[in-house]
């Protein structure tokens, strides 16, 4: 009986076990669960299916990295400051393009200038020296590679991300190495290396993958087909298309002078009395346009600058702000609402005939048209860059030998519709490295070759009144940057220790010298969860054709002086070099938490810019006029009465300024810390966080900029400052200060200024008679003014703003007042024969410099925090916040500040079946419509939706 009862109970238990469903378990209270027999509990756990957390750990925590040592190894044990972002993470976080993925990477500063057009930096160090062209604000300190193939624009020395031939569908992972590492990877790895690793055709990923998404001003499509043809041979084809639109077609204005919008173009070129000018302003026919304000493209033809010539006949001339060649802005901005249009195709072949032989071939073609920061001075802050590039790449590993060779070529146009900024470029890279193993020691000698050539002799353009005219190009030459570099890397592992030493010597053609990079790394795995690293690296930044080979005449036809600015390259300038030391610690306290922290310090030098301080290169042939007799002598010896020539002053007289590239004595120190946390909170919640703090300080910082240099040069090496009075006269005529009773007074009365205003000088503006003010000053008054100017420019280092100037709000440009400073300082008969550093000499005869200048173009704090939630197998929800601290950019056009920026982005992904993913993503959900970069677009909220196919069957 008892046996029967037992059997019955067992049968019931069995029945209960069979009937135990997930829903039943989920519906039980914990107390009820506690009553379950252990076997039932085990069954319940089976049903609950916690999810494949090991896979998750593998993806999040135990990534592999190849860039760190050029061998695939665990990222945890990478001896360099390394971060890996996989394609899965990019897709999960809703990255629309490869550029978006860098927002997830510590140390990366991502700036979206217009929709879908980015500048990406690692740790910054851009915009040095500041006060220059906007080009200098772009990243030129990072070595960008695709599968080890260098993708670098040697024309201007930057990364052009919009022209990457690949898109997310091509990518397996992005590996980022922070810190100087030229000895391991080659020149330009100044602040780090980005190596985008593509998927191999022979891998086991989806055979067909395609993504299409569209939404707010965005359409993106990409596809990849993969096929294994034989056991040893596999191929893949990819294609991508990216179309982004701007919110409107307006372009921000940049100018070193205040710009004015005239009511109609007939006013351009005309000279008017002060009264007539005032009337135009009062009637709204002359409207000031501050730097950074945006204009419709069609309005640029009416943009002007005022060049007061009151010295001659009391009139002011209205000069066009735009040179004749591209006065019709429609030629530069065919579709001003377009932000980016790029497409590319790529092919890959994997061939592995034996275990020891692995050959990979790839090739592709890409076209991009993107609105990017302008390269040259311009009233436009943005310009369309158009690149058309083809490439072929061969990567072969045979035993210990690794050979990489590639060719990359095509036309580059840095400002469509504008003459002189187009050229054909071609680059060849080849390298061979061989691995030798002796016990725990890996010896890797290598030889690397680079050939980068730009050619623009054939450039011809249609400009002006439809007339086809051959214009000079930017180089007017075959510009070639060659280098050959032997390298040696030693990698020794003993116990928990790892030592890497590397040296590489680049024999460059420009400059013609050996440039040595070195690296020393120590890694120590204290235990399973603790890895320490210590790293020193010296790296160099390569020359680029803009700096080395410029031979460009900017003809400013019909514009304010100078009528021509000449740009000369310098092939002898030293390369920017950096010493970088860092200490890092990776800590994995548990299987689901990884913390990676690093502290770094770098010292860099030999920065350069297009400046006029190189007396040898800056041979001015400017013409000068005498303010007393109003007669000038042209370069041809012709004497012209400036009063008669007034109306056609700029057209008739050749005035020229010369700029050449040269090194500045800046000493730049940077230090900071980065912390990155990956945390698998549960199988269904994954968090990611990184925070970066840093500070960049410049010693021997020069308090002048490129615009000032141009201005100073305008006066020429043979002129005497007395002849420059005419030049001054269009700059400084009256002074505004506060009188003893606190009232603002504008006066041309020298005695009043000297006696009452100068001690409280607040502004300078131009009207009145320079000589009446300065020429009649007593030496004491001059000294007082000198002190005030010194205070303003060398202590505060800022512009003086005229709050209520004669023409409304405007500012007196730095260089103009600086010219006055020197005139006062050295006396009006001071000769400029000693031109080198002339305008920046202090009383001691040394250039004016400042130590400890804090460089704020790089934010002091930036980072991100994100979370991915997987509530069910079919749904992923990701959200992340990205923070970039305030930045201050000083360029030739002024100083602009960007406030703190927090953006919140989110994505929901739904997979109804395994092969299909439907997603909606929103960028900048808080809709904080702010600029991420100066003189660029305000980036608002954008919502996109799309579908992704991933079919595994071949």
């Amino acid at each position: 009986m008892a046996a029967i009862a037992t059997l019955t109970v067992e049968a019931q238990d069995e029945q209960q076990e069979r009937q135990l469903t997930k829903e039943m378990i989920m519906g039980m209270t914990i107390e009820q669960l506690g009553d379950l027999p252990f076997s039932d509990l085990l069954r319940a756990v089976e049903l609950l299916e916690v999810s494949s957390i090991d896979d998750l750990y593998a993806i999040i925590m135990n990534k592999s990295v190849a860039s760190a040592s050029k061998n695939v190894e665990s990222a945890f044990e990478s001896p360099l400051s390394t971060t890996v972002v996989t394609r899965e993470e990019m897709e999960t976080y809703g990255c629309k393009s490869i550029e978006d993925a860098f927002r997830l990477i510590p140390g990366a500063i991502v700036t979206q200038k217009v929709n879908g057009v980015f500048d990406i930096q690692l740790r910054g160090l851009a915009n040095i020296p500041d006060g220059n062209l906007l080009l200098y604000t772009e990243n030129s300190n990072v070595l960008l590679m695709i599968d080890g193939r260098v993708v670098h624009s040697y024309s201007v020395g930057t990364m052009t991300m919009e022209n990457l031939p690949i898109s997310i569908v091509d990518v397996d992972r992005i590996e980022v190495v922070r810190g100087a590492s030229s000895a391991l990877y080659g020149v330009n790895a100044v602040t780090g290396v980005i190596n985008i690793i593509t998927r191999r055709p022979s891998d086991t990923s989806g055979a067909v993958q395609a993504t299409a998404m569209g939404g707010t001003r965005t359409f993106i499509g990409e596809a990849r087909l993969r096929k294994r043809l034989t056991e040893n041979l596999a191929v893949a084809l990819t294609a991508n298309y990216d179309l982004r639109k701007r919110e409107d077609g307006e372009i921000p204005v940049v100018n070193t002078q205040t710009s004015w919008l005239v009511a109609d173009e007939s006013l351009l070129g005309r000279s008017m009395s002060q009264g007539e000018i005032d009337a135009l302003i009062a009637n709204g026919k002359l409207i000031p346009v501050g730097t950074g304000e945006s204009l419709a493209v069609g309005d640029f033809g009416r943009l002007a600058v005022l060049s007061p010539s009151t010295l001659f006949d009391g009139t002011t001339q209205i000069f066009p702000a735009t040179p004749l060649e591209y006065r019709d802005a429609n030629k530069c901005f065919d579709d001003p609402e377009l932000a980016r249009r790029s497409w590319a195709v790529n092919g890959y072949v994997d061939f592995s005939p034996s275990e020891d032989v692995d050959i990979r071939l790839s090739g592709g073609y890409s076209q991009s048209l993107a609105m990017q920061t302008t390269v040259m001075e311009s009233p436009y802050s943005l310009a369309f860059r158009e690149f058309k590039k083809g490439y072929v790449n061969a990567d072969a590993r045979v035993g210990g030998l690794h050979v990489l060779a590639n060719f990359y070529a095509g036309p580059e146009d840095y400002a469509t519709g504008r003459p002189g900024l187009q050229a054909d470029f071609r680059q060849i890279f080849a390298s061979a490295e061989y691995d030798i193993y002796v016990g725990g020691l890996n010896i890797r000698p290598g030889l690397h070759f680079q050939y980068a050539n730009g050619q623009d002799r054939k450039s011809a353009f249609d400009y002006g009144a439809g007339e086809a005219v051959e214009m000079p190009g930017f180089f007017n030459d075959d510009a070639t940057l060659n280098a050959i570099a032997p390298s040696l890397r030693l990698d020794y592992r003993v116990g928990k220790w790892r030592f890497i030493a590397a040296v590489r010597a680049d024999k460059t053609k420009v400059p013609d010298k050996w440039n040595v990079s070195s690296q020393g790394v120590v890694g120590f795995k204290a235990s399973d969860g603790h890895f320490f690293r210590l790293n020193y690296g010296r790296a160099v930044r390569s020359a680029n054709m803009l700096n080395a080979n410029s031979n460009y005449s900017w003809k400013r036809t019909g514009m304010d002086y100078p009528s021509v600015i000449e740009f000369y390259g310098n092939k002898d300038a030293d390369l920017v070099s950096v010493h970088n030391a860092e200490f890092g610690y990776r800590f994995q306290p548990s299987q689901n938490l990884l913390v990676d922290a690093e502290a770094f310090f770098s010292a860099s030098s030999d920065y350069g810019a297009m400046m006029t301080f190189d007396a040898k290169a800056a041979t001015s042939y400017g013409d000068f006029y005498d303010s007393t007799n109003k007669i000038i002598e042209s370069a041809g010896g012709e004497r012209i009465d400036i009063r008669k020539a007034q109306s056609t002053f700029m057209a008739d007289i050749k005035t020229s300024s010369n700029s050449s590239y040269g090194n500045l004595p800046y000493k730049v120190r940077q230090f900071g810390i980065s912390v990155n946390v990956d945390w698998v909170i549960s199988p269904k919640v994954i968090a990611k966080l990184n925070a970066n703090f840093q500070r960049t300080v410049i010693d021997d910082y020069y308090l002048y900029n490129q615009a000032e240099a141009l201005h100073q040069q305008f006066y020429g090496e043979d002129g005497i400052i007395n002849n420059m009075v005419a030049g001054f006269s269009d700059i400084i005529y009256c002074m505004e200060g506060r009188s003893a009773d606190g009232q603002t007074v504008v006066s041309t009365d020298a005695s009043l200024i000297g006696a009452n205003l100068l001690p409280n000088l607040v502004t300078l503006s131009h009207s009145g008679d320079y000589e009446a003010i300065v020429g009649n000053m007593t030496p004491e008054q001059r000294e007082t003014l000198l002190d005030a100017l010194r205070e303003a420019y060398f202590t505060k280092g800022s512009y003086i703003y005229d709050k209520e100037g004669v023409y409304g709000p405007r500012r007196i440009t730095y260089q103009n007042s600086l010219a006055l400073y020197y005139a006062l300082k050295y006396g009006i008969d001071y000769k400029l024969s000693d031109r080198e550093y002339t305008f920046s000499r202090s009383e001691s005869g040394e250039p004016e410099r400042r130590d400890g200048h804090v460089h704020k173009s790089t934010p002091a704090f930036y980072g991100m925090a994100g979370v991915v939630v997987k509530p069910t197998k079919q749904i992923d929800v990701a959200a992340y916040a990205n923070f970039v601290g305030r930045r201050t950019y000083t360029t030739a056009y002024g100083t602009e500040r960007l406030s703190n920026r927090l953006t919140l982005n989110a994505k929901v992904d739904y997979r109804p079946v395994e092969a299909i993913s439907i997603f909606v993503s929103a960028d900048n959900i808080l809709a904080q419509k702010r600029q991420e970069f100066i003189y660029s677009d305000k980036i608002g909220c954008a919502v996109t939706a799309g579908v992704r196919l991933n079919i595994n069957r071949e």
Binding site: I30, L33, F38, V50, D54, S590, V920, A922, C941, V943
Partner: protein, 176 residues
């Protein structure tokens, strides 16, 4: 200018995120619940000394409030081998006395050596939340193996503490 549709979609996304976070939080709780359930079953499947029959069965949870809370809920008004169950929480594995089971939470995994050393002569079932700690002296260590919640069990370590467990406990786990 943000359009109404963009605002609506943004709000939907925020709601979706909050919902998903809610779902995920409940899943995060699942692990601690499972650990608590297993611990209670470990207690039920261990042969305790008859001399302690008149004392409550004391389970000490070190460094894991969630497990302690769940364990209290499970054992409330229940007995194991006729003994009432008491749950104690401790912040450190050091100085534990009178425990029958000690559970070492993941955050305190570094204290395994101290715990094993201090409890070497006691009849204590040491259970760790951290994989691989049977090799360091734990009797049982939880782990996730290919997405499945399971445990490693060391008969040798259990015996060294003068205890024995049921066959089902041995066979359901992974023997060290």
């Amino acid at each position: 200018m943000k359009t109404h549709s963009e605002i609506a979609l943004s709000r939907l996304l925020i709601i979706a995120i909050l919902w998903a976070l809610g779902c995920a939080t409940s899943n995060a709780q699942q692990t601690s619940r499972l650990q608590a359930l297993y611990l209670f079953n470990f207690a039920k499947n261990t042969s305790w000394s008859a001399s302690d029959a008149d004392k409550p069965l004391t389970m000490v949870v070190v460094g894991d409030k969630a497990v302690a809370k769940d364990l209290k809920a499970i054992s409330k008004n229940k007995q194991v081998g006729g003994r009432p169950v008491e749950i104690a929480e401790m912040a450190s594995a050091q100085g534990i006395q009178g425990a029958d089971i000690v559970f070492l939470g993941g955050a305190k995994s570094a204290q395994i050596e101290t715990l094993v050393s201090e409890q070497a002569a006691n009849k204590v079932l040491i259970v760790s939340a951290t994989e691989g700690q049977c090799a360091k002296g734990a009797c049982i260590a939880f782990e996730l193996n290919k997405g499945k919640f399971t445990y490693t069990i060391s008969e040798a370590n259990i015996k060294s503490h003068g205890l024995s467990v049921s066959r089902v406990l041995i066979t359901s786990g992974k023997a060290l």
